[in-house]
């Protein structure tokens, strides 16, 4: 009886070796994959279009265009319905917000030179060109010389065909 007890006490030590293996591999995998810094936010209500472009994103001012709002760096500045109803090509509220972002830049010599000022537009894939044009026109009007479009990277059809059969 005493011996039986002793055996149970020893058996209480769980065998964690395989769990440890999995955890160790997972931690290293996740550490490596999180090492690639993603400068763009991951918005839930915007479905970005897919593209084969592979230029990595840079740290820039971000204009986020959802189905009903325009946001600059996360701050709502205008409503899409109002923008579309307006005949004016430049959106005044967006322009003011972009100017304010430019004024916040720490190094003033960058702010002076419009060619180095960058903006990234993250738009929902269902947006009409009419809206996109107004946003791009406002960006150039606010002296942002370089405008980029954020896209989700996809594997091209040719690459799929190459891997497939």
């Amino acid at each position: 009886m005493k011996r039986h007890h002793e055996r149970r006490k020893r058996g209480a030590a769980l065998n964690l070796v395989s769990l440890m293996d999995i955890f160790t591999i997972l931690v290293f995998f996740l550490l490596v994959s999180s090492g690639e810094v993603e400068s763009l936010p991951n918005p839930r209500d915007v479905r970005l279009p897919e593209s084969t472009a592979d230029t990595p994103s840079r740290e820039t001012v971000i204009v986020l265009v959802t189905a009903d709002e325009v946001l600059v760096q996360g701050q709502p500045v205008a409503r899409v319905a109002d923008v579309l109803a307006d005949d004016e090509i430049v959106i005044p509220a967006l322009e003011a917000a972009l100017e304010a972002q430019a004024a916040r830049v720490i190094r003033p010599e960058i702010a002076e030179d419009s060619a180095t000022r960058e903006v990234t537009i993250m738009g929902d894939k269902a947006l009409p060109y009419r809206l996109l044009k107004k946003i791009m026109a406002t960006c150039t009007e606010a002296d942002y010389g370089r405008v980029s479009l954020a896209v989700l990277q996809k594997v091209s059809d040719a690459q799929v065909a190459a891997v497939g059969p």
Binding site: A13, P49, A53, P128, V151
Partner: protein, 170 residues
Amino acid sequence: MARRRWRTRRRHDADELNITAFMNLMVILVPFLLITAVFSRMSILELNLPAPSAETVEQDEPEFQLEVVVRQNAIEVGERSAGLLRRFEAEGGEYDLDGLADYLLDVKRRFPEKLDATLLLEPDVQYELIVAVMDRVRAVERFDDGADRVVTAELFPEISIGDAPIVAVN
């Protein structure tokens, strides 16, 4: 004899390795990294937009200016002065993007030095289609049987965007 005793003791120690602290660390680290992990990679498409103050420079020599016009019912490839070169009808909302890619490759063969193209769009064209057309204009990817891999050929990566000319209604 002494050696043997040392060995048994070491084995005994290995059994009792205290991994609780390590486990705690792992249990915290794994969910934290899973939450922050990004599974879809984002990239950017760079546009070639003119500054609002930039004046249009008159060119003495008329240069070949490739224009891709995206309309509600078709994609047209043209040249600024020569006019329409090729028209791809969209049947049932499906645009012939592969046909466009093939034709642009053909144009690139004729003008290998050309790097820029202008994308002209109608107001109601969807953003998704704009990006898809930009992809086709920017580069072409073909599976090369000889090399047994996908080769990417650059077409016209410097893309400008503008409004499509209004078609005269007949």
